[in-house]
């Protein structure tokens, strides 16, 4: 396999890589490690130059701006616009996590585009990037125990303790979930991620490996996997157990 050169690896690190370059990183452990080293360097440099700005400095700077008084009509116009904006928001924009993968699956079955719902339901609020000292990479397999039911849609939330950062996501074992699930790219380098996927094709049953996570850890970490939602073909929700299995140390 031909590896990516340094500039291409840096493009992927910065989120500017082409789809082909991003795909290569998912498949090539050596390049993935190189990208993580770059990411670690970048995060360390960012952290090193972080300066806390005291509130009095903010006030001193912002107090120099002359503020125009708004005419009375503008205040009323502003209020009316605000009310209209709130009404539009309440009517048409669903808050994040008010929906889950089963809603996306239902929409897709009706022929709709489920991308936006998947994006919303996997969004991670204010993800905190972690700088993990050490370069031990491990892979964690994510299983949903569907039993005799067929797993047409699933959504799982995974959290790692402070000694690890989630650095990559791959697809699972079955054809239905072979592609990487949907997740929030901002969650990478952090300790919490939400994964979701559905299939309108043949859904697997039993113990289904739905995804594989890559972690960088400084010590063996504890992980917690929680099922957010699972559904059978047709959309009937059911409860299932999530298990996480360490596949080995890829240091």
């Amino acid at each position: 396999m031909e590896h990516l050169d340094e500039l291409a690896q840096d493009r992927v690190r910065a989120g500017e890589g082409s789809p082909e370059e991003a795909q290569h990183i998912l498949e090539c452990l050596q390049c993935k490690v190189e990208v993580e080293v770059l990411r670690f360097m970048a995060n360390s440099m960012k952290d090193a130059q972080a300066v806390e700005v005291p509130a009095e400095v903010d006030r001193a700077i912002l107090s120099t701006i002359p503020r125009r008084r708004r005419p009375a009509w503008a205040v009323f116009a502003g209020s009316a616009a605000a009310i209209l904006a709130v009404a539009i928001t309440l009517t048409f924009v669903m808050p994040a996590h008010a929906v889950d993968v089963v809603d996306a699956y239902a929409l897709s079955r009706k022929g709709g585009d489920a991308t936006e719902i998947l994006r919303k339901c996997t969004a991670v609020d204010s993800p905190r990037k972690r700088n993990i000292l050490g370069n031990r990479f491990v892979a964690i397999d994510v299983y949903v125990e569907a039993g005799e039911r067929k797993l047409a849609a699933w959504q799982v939330e995974i959290t790692a303790d402070d000694r690890a950062a989630i650095v990559g996501v791959e697809g699972g074992a079955m054809p239905a979930y072979h592609d990487p699930p949907t997740y929030d790219p901002k969650a990478l380098q952090g300790g919490k991620i939400v994964l979701a996927a559905f299939t309108t094709g043949e859904a697997p049953s039993g113990r289904v490996r739905v995804a594989r996570l890559h972690l960088m850890e400084s010590a063996k970490v504890d992980l917690d996997g929680r099922l957010v939602a699972a559904a059978a073909p047709g959309g009937a929700r059911f409860d299932a157990k999530v298990t996480l299995e360490r596949t080995g140390d890829s240091r």
């Binding site: 840096d10 910065a14 490690v33 360390s44 440099m45 130059q49 300066v51 400095v57 903010d58 912002l62």
Partner: protein, 165 residues
């Protein structure tokens, strides 16, 4: 958070929209202070430079039209002010030693020192400031090819320094 682009915020601030200036300030404040601290090496001085930089922006507003990114516009302003401060504090008063670096920071400093000033600057703009290669070229007023060449060289050195697995 204001979702308008930097260019739109600058336009609005030019028309006297104080909220637009505030949004620009909060969007770039931490980066300005961080960059200033990185170059001049003094957190207190960095806060002064933060104030001076936004005072400069405010003064320039009536004629300011962004042809590139806002950070590309700010970079030389912050850099020159920070270098002036650094020169001024070369003679440190007794007892005011710089903070000891952490092991990670020490390793990064050693790497940057090995690169030389021009290459280190490109790496820091890329990694710490998060600028694109085009933005770096515009801020430093050098060709894009030169930026790529410097970054490539710096990353090659980083790769060679890394212990073999």
């Amino acid at each position: 958070m204001d979702s308008r682009s930097d260019a739109d915020l600058v336009k609005a601030a030019r028309r006297g929209d104080a909220a637009a200036f505030e949004a620009l300030y909060y969007r770039h404040r931490d980066w300005v202070a961080g960059l200033a601290c990185r170059i001049c090496g003094d957190r207190e001085a960095a806060l002064d430079i933060l104030q001076e930089t936004f005072a400069y922006v405010f003064k320039k507003l009536p004629e300011l039209e962004l042809r590139a990114g806002f950070r590309t516009f700010l970079y030389p302003v912050i850099k020159h002010r920070s270098i002036d401060r650094k020169r001024a504090r070369r003679t440190l008063p007794e007892g005011s030693e710089p903070e000891a670096p952490t092991s990670v920071q020490g390793a990064i400093d050693a790497y940057l020192n090995q690169l030389g000033e021009e290459h280190a600057e490109v790496v820091q703009m890329r990694f710490a400031d998060g600028l694109t290669l085009d933005e770096i070229a515009a801020a430093l007023e050098i060709p894009l090819g030169t930026v790529k060449s410097r970054l490539h060289h710096a990353l090659e050195i980083l790769r060679r320094k890394k212990p073999n697995p």
